[in-house]
């Protein structure tokens, strides 16, 4: 049996026999893996939105420098196109909630210092309250209740309280986390009709216009500028299409893992199949995030 399979078997066995209400050390290990992946997905989503906006501006600037480009193309007053600062900020806040949620779960599963847990809890609450109202799935009362859960742990971290806090936070935040995963996965989906699709349209437009300019270019400088723009668009097409598809897939896996974690936490004695499903998804998510981080 490989180390990975042994770990999975131990987690499943330990979780399935847990009936005290406390999370076993193996159960905490699964939560830690999920939490770390959630934090990483939140981080990647945050940086990716900023990268997409910067690259959109950069591609439109490159198009402006092409010889023979029509006046008004692209619109110099709208170089960021769909990536308006307020829209990007809303997405970054959504990704910030995922990151803060992962950090809080991780702190609860690993930290013995209440200050650290409180800090992570405050960060989640701050990120939640900064979400646009349309994306808030927890009202003020529910958000305050979340803060109370962590405060009630008190100065002494005992396993029962730790377990109870994790269970309650997972249960209470699931509608919010699932909503944000759906929202961000949709944005990154290169086959959807949201931000990623707009980005790909910008890439294709630059590629086509640069090719046209290259065909018509006579002067050496024009040829150099056109070729550089063409290469930038081609690289953008290759790299971003791959990163966007993976980011979207990771967010869908995160949503699935959150649902499975909630199912597993809802039950004092989760079924073996519930736990197996969660462990498998958490592992797939962890691997996907590692690949995504390397591909950036």
């Amino acid at each position: 049996m490989t180390g990975s399979r042994l770990w999975t078997a131990l987690v499943v066995a330990a979780l399935a026999t847990s009936s005290t209400g406390c999370l076993s050390s193996a159960q905490l290990a699964a939560v830690r893996q999920f939490s770390a992946a959630t934090t990483a997905v939140g981080d990647l989503a945050t940086s990716e939105f900023v990268v997409l906006r910067n690259e959109t501006i950069s591609m439109n600037e490159a198009r402006l420098t092409l010889p023979g480009i029509d006046p008004g193309e692209p619109d110099q007053t709208n170089l960021d196109e769909s990536f308006d600062p307020e829209d990007v900020e809303a997405r970054v806040r959504a990704a910030g909630v995922l990151k803060a949620y992962g950090e809080l779960l991780l702190a609860l599963a690993t930290e013995s210092q209440t200050e650290e847990i409180k800090k992570a809890s405050d960060s989640l609450l701050a990120n939640l309250s900064a979400l646009p109202s349309a994306d808030q799935k927890l009202d003020k009362e529910q958000q305050e209740a979340l803060g109370t859960i962590v405060t009630s742990i008190g100065g002494l971290i005992v396993e029962f309280k730790r377990s109870k806090a994790i269970r309650t936070i997972v249960a209470d935040t699931t509608p919010q986390i699932v909503h944000l995963c759906d929202l961000l996965a949709r944005d990154f989906d290169p086959d959807g009709d949201h931000l990623a699709t707009g980005f790909l349209a910008t890439t294709e437009t630059l590629k086509e216009r640069a090719f046209e300019a290259l065909e018509a270019a006579q002067a050496r400088d024009d040829k150099v500028a056109s070729l550089a723009a063409y290469r930038a668009a081609q690289a953008g097409r290759d790299k971003r299409a791959m990163v966007l598809a993976r980011a979207s897939q990771s967010l869908r896996q995160l949503r699935k893992a959150q649902d499975q974690l909630k199912t597993a936490m809802d039950s004092r004695k989760p079924s073996v199949s519930d736990i197996k499903e969660f462990v498998a998804t958490a592992k797939a998510l962890h691997s996907a995030v590692q690949v995504l981080a390397k591909g950036k």
Partner: protein
């Protein structure tokens, strides 16, 4: 279920690739005009609420599927470019109707 987004995200790269392969000047000019039109319509639809339960959505999706198949065929055999142009023009027409409905 096939969606407009899933199809149009393939249409634009296929159009770009065909423009680069096509030698005929008239066909190239027509493809370029369609590329501009499709990119503009796509940007109009980005981040908008599009009702998927409309005839326009269904027709636009089907027209894009036809256009993509025709573009792939033309990429393999440039003699089929005129047919691809016809199909893409039809898809652009339906996308225009859909864009008008988008909130």
């Amino acid at each position: 279920m096939a969606t407009v987004g899933a199809n149009i995200s393939k249409t634009l790269p296929l159009l770009t690739d065909l423009i680069e392969k096509t030698k005929d000047k008239d066909e190239k000019a027509r493809l370029r005009a369609l590329h501009k039109e499709m990119a503009a319509k796509l940007k109009e639809l980005v981040d908008k609420n599009v009702d998927k339960a409309t005839q326009e959505y269904e027709k636009a999706t089907a027209a894009l599927e036809d256009a993509n198949a025709a573009l792939r065929a033309a990429r393999e055999d440039l003699a089929k470019t005129a047919k691809a142009i016809e199909k893409v023009a039809k898809a652009a027409e339906w996308l225009g109707k859909l864009a008008k409905l988008a909130a």
